[in-house]
Symmetry: D3
Subunit: 274 residues, 6 copies
């Protein structure tokens, strides 16, 4: 249900009105074949749900035999799934399937790298709303498959107070107060602060979480000590594989990393005839 619109859109843009000219020109209408979906790089598999749906929408008789489920690690050369069906159908679905699995496995793989980088520490790696248009549900899920968590899904499921809101409300305190008056009993309220001074302003209003935006490592450490575990602290801004462990070692509870979704290179995956 949830992913069907983007899968349909992806098929439409590859098939247009004319469909697969090459397959129709050359492949016998009844020819059948078998293929292996194989990783050409090691990584974490994701996107098989979307790829399966793409196959089914093209031809519900295509069979997928999954060897590596979503979230499993895969080494270069290993088979992720075997596919069997009419040759015309599989070639029609091939590129769309590969695009989903490649893109989403890329997200899961990059997440896993970040999660591994903070191994042994309590800090959680989460993604943001900086997702590829149309792929939010799939990318958020890929992050989870890679071992990460999520921030808000959208503007609609939690309150996150930023500089524009603080300015509009006339201060940190009144912004949180307005949010509380509006929020339901299940709506979390997080506030983004730029300085330790703003952090002090926020504490008395007891938000659900506080986001330290572009803090230095030293200031993060100070903030963690000041907070003493009472309110979860999130770090964001300029996070990379190089500095993520140092940030986690300051003791922040959550590190949000936009790059997990907006800049993950695709995992190289191909379809080989068997």
């Amino acid at each position: 249900m949830v992913i069907e619109p983007i899968v349909r859109l992806a098929l439409q843009e590859d098939l247009g009105a004319a469909g697969d000219l090459t397959g129709e020109a050359i492949i016998d209408v009844n020819a059948r074949g078998r293929w292996a979906l194989r990783a050409r790089q090691s990584g974490v598999v994701a996107g098989l749900d979307a790829a399966s749906l793409a196959a089914r929408l093209v031809d519900c008789a295509i069979l997928l035999n999954i060897h590596k489920v979503d979230g499993e690690g895969v080494a270069a050369g290993q088979t992720i799934a075997e596919i069997e069906g009419r040759v015309r159908s599989v070639l029609m679905a091939e590129r769309t399937m590969l695009n989903f699995v490649g893109q989403l496995s890329g997200v899961a793989t990059l997440t896993r790298a970040h999660v591994d980088a903070v191994k042994g520490l309590k800090t959680k790696i989460v993604c943001t709303r900086k997702t590829t248009p149309g792929l939010r549900a799939l990318e958020k899920r890929a992050v989870r498959l890679g071992g990460g968590g999520t921030h808000r899904y959208g503007l609609n499921d939690a309150i996150l107070i930023k500089d524009n809101h603080i300015a509009a409300a006339g201060g940190v305190g009144s912004a949180i107060a307005r949010a509380r008056a509006y929020a339901g009993h299940l709506t979390a309220i997080e506030i983004e602060v730029d300085t330790l001074a703003q952090l002090e302003e926020a504490i008395p209003y007891a938000p659900s979480a506080i986001l330290l935006d572009n803090f230095s490592l030293a200031d993060m450490g100070t903030a963690v000590a000041r907070m003493g575990g009472k309110i979860p602290l999130e770090a964001s801004g300029g996070v990379s594989l190089e500095n993520v462990r140092a940030i986690a070692e300051t003791g922040v509870d959550v590190i949000s990393v936009g790059a997990l979704t907006h800049s993950a290179p695709a995992l190289d995956i191909g379809l080989d005839a068997l």
Copy 2:
């Protein structure tokens, strides 16, 4: 028309049914503001068309004053566009706009880097069908804005004969023959070959173009010499910024680079209140 479905999908996934909780909680319903859409890195701008549509679908009274048009270069710190309107509306559209412009400017910027790398040579850099699901039209356009060209748009606008097709047809020659019998007078026929021997098989059938898949630089050079400009040659497989110029120097006409669309990191772009 063409990009409206993906823009609507992107807005829906950020707004859900509840809309922007934070804005509704804190921002006065009539408050207005001005913002600058600013590059935080240098690059090539793309995606303003999608961002403008996102703004208009949220609130048709949001005004955009474009400083850098799609395809223009931008330096870190420069303003791409000024935006004015109801604060609630702009905050509602902000992330979707940034996601489009960031992702697509990333594609345009990576394309420009490849194009610059082959400067002075006749070789064209083109993208493939390895695009992000849902974004094909936008990414193909971003590649063009970055100075690149395009391969097929989809399975529907040209014939590309690959290994599966050759196997099904029983050889290179019969595959091209079947394609020609099927094709309209405006349908190009390209064939992908893996070896110089296959190249020889293809030449007598005069395809519109020949794709040299994962050829060594030496073999590419041999192929170019053999061809003598009579049929355009395309190189693909394992192309990167590091080796693209060397490939171009073999004299191939076209280099197709999947990474332009499947692995471009987003360009860092933000929205600053004025």
Copy 3:
């Protein structure tokens, strides 16, 4: 954006493929007129946003002059809005507009009655997911306009652990533990308990809120005393205008009322020619 699909669906089901036979048969194509949208009962106005969109989709030249904004009280006979435009267009949109405003004002009005019934107490009245299919966003908003709040919007924005989940997890504690392990730092976790004994089981796991399902007034009082304000308590089950104040007087923080959305009678509203 968010409400457009249901407004289009509503217009389609009233217009079919043939459109308004009566208007086309009888009304001159250029005739213009003015109407008052009038309450025939007192209540709270809601749904003008949907009605306005319906009008605009039929004919973007229909003008609405709003006298009572969404959320305002209206007495029987008072004008909510004046409408001006081509007679054919207004008659085409009339029933769809009235259905939205009538249905949603009914929700807002019933909510206001519950809110008034607990006046002076701290308890909040909220709606549930027992909404009319297709109208969730509009009905949740109508509840807010009537002075109420909201529970979860959907399955997607908070965790609510019920009997099925407790059974699957093997107990209250392990259910909350699983939820916490899964939840992001902004995801609230509420648990529904049937007895005071279950309440005791839940407390050590510190959920974000506890739902007392079908508790007697006496047990609610005991629960409130036991809790001492540390975790918000929600009452649900069999709430009506008759007993809502007695429930609120037990000291629970939130009362959720499915009837606000699933059983509100429409407010009687009509369109009178001027």
Copy 4:
């Protein structure tokens, strides 16, 4: 086909992009279960078609074993259907299924009460276009299941001349004449009259039916006597369970009741684990 859009919309608004957080957090991915869909009040069942479609769209392997078909009476405590499937899937579809069945059984039940109230008389109870946006086809069908009939489905399937049209045409007679000139040979023409004088004006033009709008019981009786069965008479305006029999006893052929669809309280139905 016809009901699929509203069922998809209902699922989308409950699942959003994130899906069912609670189920994913707590329920084992392979766990299966059985449930009974049970009435907690007596009434007439409707909406099982929509509920079945909702289940199938979530997971086509959910099994429904229907005990009470649409239109059958059900007593409090009785099982309407047994449901079996993956726990995660059923919990994902549960609320949407219950909302459809509850809402539509409410309509069928209220209709049955009106139909029972006029038992033994020839008068037919019908619903109007005052339906819930998006649910017209389902509500019209629920009315039929409750023993009622229908008026126009929409503006598109019959002509109903009201005050605006009479004014535009310059009188009752010319309005009917214009309608006749426009109507196909299968298009019925009904006219709404406010007074006995208007009724007299209409009679010579032989409309297919005449609607007596807000007539007193006495005037209805006079109209019935005057008409002598030659043209069907419909009564509307202010109809309730209290006065519907008295109205029917005047001898009118049809009574249209907007409240059947716009104000029916939902029937209380729940899902119990077995």
Copy 5:
């Protein structure tokens, strides 16, 4: 509203994901122009509403200056509308606009020919449900513009009893009786008969209309005489411009002609630069 889906579909199939390659390659982005939409054959204009919407969806700044409104006659060489706007936009919309106007003017023109053929007689020419998939609303309207009327719009707005139904019900009489028991007071009931004997069976049940299917002219005359004007008679089957007047002269009330919509040749219309 009603025609938007088919207009969007038509544009999508002409533009695909890549848009207008030729325009983008050759036409300056800011170039503007003026064109005349001209008939190359005489006929009746229809489809300007769809063409205008197509233009607006491509570029809302395209201006249409209508010289001949829908339903007006046009001679070869006359201008139907002048169009002004960005050259790229107009060329992008051109073919879609022409396809709508050509196809629908063809329907209106063929209808007018049939209507003219029965001039002076009371018989009405109507179309059927044998319409082009997706174009029913537009084609029914084109028939009206050509002076014809309509039969049922769809299966949903009147009852038409055919041979399958008579067989299922066990006879003409019981079929009509079942229909009457089901029908609302505004639902017309027509029955199709194959012989004069069946006509006799139908008469006592007083259907709203009777369809004489493939009757000889002689039998039609007999039926008309027998009926004496009490129930409208419709003729259908094998109607053409050659025999339509002879059929009308038998005195039938309605002649339904499938060819008006399923076999009308397009009217030749072109776009000339000014």
Copy 6:
């Protein structure tokens, strides 16, 4: 995938919100039957894919037993397919199925007639973009089934330079040059010329094909001789079954015929109970 939107649209316009009144009134809900889809005229079958999908969308238990596959010839009276299923379902899908098969078989049949008319010559008959809105993919396929080929599918898959473009570019040569600079290596470029002089201008720029628009037979012959087979020549304008062979005999490679899709009369096909 590709044809689903138009098939859904066609069903929606026939079923509306109320569905099939006649079937529901008269046919027993469990009654089953068998029918033959029979040609009443000889021709070439097309559209069975769309008809099958229509049947499946109405009721996935309808069985089709195909006797004549798409593209096969059929004589008057022959059975194209046998259909079995619930009577209500089949009657609900009947008209939509027939409209697709009738319309598309009409296209295939008219194409076959043109192809037969040029038998023995090398000239290919192709269709244009003058297709019925919404049916392009289906009509292009029907043309192929009838033995024809296709021109561009849409504006998006090849470049066709016409008078507007030549004027904008300032001449034939510069228009082709601009097109070449823009085109990818798989994009064909055709130019439309009105005179032999324009043909001369075009030749040095080596377009992929040249369209001779409204040339006399004599001029076509001159053009063919001049060209000597180096660039494919297409003839268009005023082609009919009467003159198509004479045109082909001039030696042009391709004749494009708009009438194949915009003016093909439907093939007469009916559904007979067995």
